[in-house]
């Protein structure tokens, strides 16, 4: 079943795009990501300095989204912070996929390593995400890289589990057996036959991890053990805005919307991807 879905049926993108919610979600996410990535880079939005006297200016013609406690432009900061938040989400999605794929492939391919690696995956999954990330960040310090690594360790087992299950199925397929009989080396088989075929379910899962990681980052910032505030993230901005909930609600509103919209659109895209790939898969993951 995995093979049939994974062979990227020709109608894949058509099915994916046939759902209006998926299309809208994808568009929203692309717009957010592009704005965060390109607007500051092209210098269209300048981070601007502090102008303490304009502290907490509400949104208006001068500051479209208002000014924060330092009189910094919230819009510019929102975009810069968005880049950091999205980097964390993407970083976690990529790193946890890489780790998960490695563990899953090895477990699925080498029978004698399957049991120990599967137990390791079970053990890792037994630690709740925030709890483990909290401990890791506390121990190693709150840099962006550490937050990405900590959350990747948290989410990698989920990928590992899927990859292992799919690998177990694929390695028994006739053409893989044939390749093996022809003397193709195991890494080559892993690469050309297995990995290519399981890319889609990994992509689905990675999309969700992207979303969860962004939420987890916000949670860590709230608990006071997130990223160092010299690189602002949306989580940090929301948390900084908390004390101004009465005087300047916009300080929470915009970064809060940034998180909610990104996470929502990512989940919708993930759902769309999953349904487009194989409705049956929705049950397993």
């Amino acid at each position: 079943m995995a093979a049939s879905s994974a062979a990227a049926p020709p109608g894949f993108s058509r099915i994916l795009l046939s759902r209006p919610s998926t299309v809208v979600a994808l568009a929203v996410f692309v717009v957010i990501a592009a704005a965060c990535l390109f607007l500051p880079a092209l210098g269209l939005v300048a981070p601007g300095g502090m102008s303490v006297r304009s502290r907490l200016t509400p949104p208006g013609p001068e500051y479209w989204m208002g000014a924060d406690a330092f009189g910094r432009d919230v819009l510019a900061r929102l975009l810069i912070a968005g880049r950091a938040s999205l980097t964390i989400g993407l970083g976690v999605a990529v790193v946890s996929s890489v780790i998960g794929i490695a563990i899953g492939l090895v477990a699925g391919f080498f029978r004698q390593l399957d049991a120990p690696l599967s137990r390791l995956i079970d053990a890792m999954m037994a630690f709740p995400d925030i709890l483990l990330a909290l401990s890791l960040v506390a121990i190693f310090g709150g840099t962006m890289l550490n937050v990405i690594l900590a959350l990747s360790i948290v989410y990698a087992p989920r990928i590992g589990r899927i990859v292992r299950a799919s690998t177990l199925v694929i390695r028994e397929l006739p053409y893989v057996e044939a390749a093996r009989a022809l003397g193709t080396r195991t890494p080559t088989i892993m690469w050309t036959h297995v990995l290519r075929n399981i890319m889609s379910p990994i992509l689905v899962q990675a999309t969700f991890i992207f979303a969860y990681a962004m939420l987890a980052e916000a949670g860590l910032s709230f608990l006071g053990v997130g990223v160092d505030p010299s690189t602002p993230t949306w989580g940090i901005m929301v948390n900084e805005g908390r004390q101004f909930i009465d005087n300047a609600f916009f300080l929470i509103l915009f970064p809060g919307l940034g998180i909610a919209l990104s996470v929502l659109s990512l989940q919708l895209v993930g759902d769309g991807l999953r349904d487009a790939l194989d409705p049956k898969l929705a049950k397993d993951t």
Partner: protein
């Protein structure tokens, strides 16, 4: 069946052993000498050496690891640096709010999400379905501390419907204390209901596609009866599965929720332990929570086995 049980039990023991190992390694990776950390900046080098010896930190790492395992098996999770109490005592005194918070929010989420999920599946593709699924997703997309803050601000402080924070004073009896958990449970329940709703809906969609349902329909059974009979009959399975699935989610959520509402539970404890660098407490919490998770999952698997005769192992 027996051999399956045996296999599961052995697997579980191995997993718990790995959990312990990971927790041991994690805390060992922390920078700084735990003995120096415990004694504070004014300690003399001699005091540090003496404490290292007392804690067994001067032993080779393997010996330390073995004695750690031995201690844990005997139920000794070490001594809290901050409270100067055994970690097990500290954890035990914090378990109540967390257990009931998790329980109430799970009940809240199930009560809200299961009927909506079943109905959404029944009216698959309808406006109701679309609305419920998208609001569930939206609820799951907002950081839970934000939901909590807003609830606390408006429902507790302004309207006075709930206590704003805490877990009651010395004269609060059990019922009073549970009163403090209502708003936190709703906050946490909302996030979790999203997952349960989606899960119930997906399972129902499956069931509705099964042959026997089609047969029932073909036989002219009314839609309501089809839904009620088969939904109720099969509702047990998603509920069991979801309990296992959301356990980790509940604990993670509890960390943030307990912080917002200042509940003296395990989640708040671990955050404080992190801020106080109380490594034995961090380690102890990780061990207890992870072990609970493993047990809950074993339990749900076993329940599965008894509820669903179709599942074969």
């Amino acid at each position: 069946m027996t051999s399956y049980l045996l296999r599961r039990l052995v697997g579980m023991i191995v997993v718990i052993f790995l959990v312990l190992t990971i927790a041991f390694i994690l805390v060992r990776l922390a920078p700084g000498d735990p003995a120096a950390l415990m004694l504070g900046p004014d300690a003399t080098p001699e005091e540090v050496v003496a404490l290292r010896a007392r804690l067994g930190l001067d032993q080779p790492i393997v010996a330390q690891y073995l004695s750690f395992l031995g201690n844990v098996l005997r139920g000794d999770l070490g001594q809290s640096l901050f409270f100067n109490l055994p970690v097990t005592d500290v954890l035990a005194s914090r378990a109540e709010p967390t257990i009931f918070l998790a329980l109430f929010s799970l009940i809240f989420a199930l009560v809200i999400a299961t009927p909506i999920g079943i109905y959404a599946a029944y009216r698959h593709g309808s406006a109701v379905d679309q609305t419920s699924i998208s609001s569930a997703m939206l609820a799951a997309s907002v950081p839970s501390f934000l939901t909590g803050l807003i609830f606390q601000r408006y429902l507790a402080t302004d309207l006075g419907w709930f206590p704003a924070s805490g877990y009651g004073g010395p004269d609060a009896d059990f019922l009073d204390r549970m009163g403090y958990l209502i708003l936190p449970s709703i906050t946490l329940g909302i996030t979790n209901s999203a997952l349960i709703l989606r899960f119930t809906r997906a399972s129902m969609l499956d069931i509705l596609g099964e042959d026997y349902v089609r047969t029932a329909r073909a036989k002219g059974m009314s839609e309501t009866r089809v839904i009620l009979r088969h939904a109720l009959k099969n509702a047990g399975i998603p509920i069991i599965t979801v309990v296992g699935l959301t356990f980790a989610l509940l604990v993670s959520g509890a960390v943030v929720t307990e912080r917002v509402f200042n509940l003296p539970g395990l989640g708040n404890l671990v955050v404080n332990a992190v801020l106080r660098r109380d490594y034995p407490v961090i380690q102890g919490t990780l061990i207890v929570v992870a072990t609970l998770y493993v047990l809950v999952n074993l339990l749900t698997d076993l329940l599965y086995l008894t509820v669903d005769k179709r599942v074969k192992y």
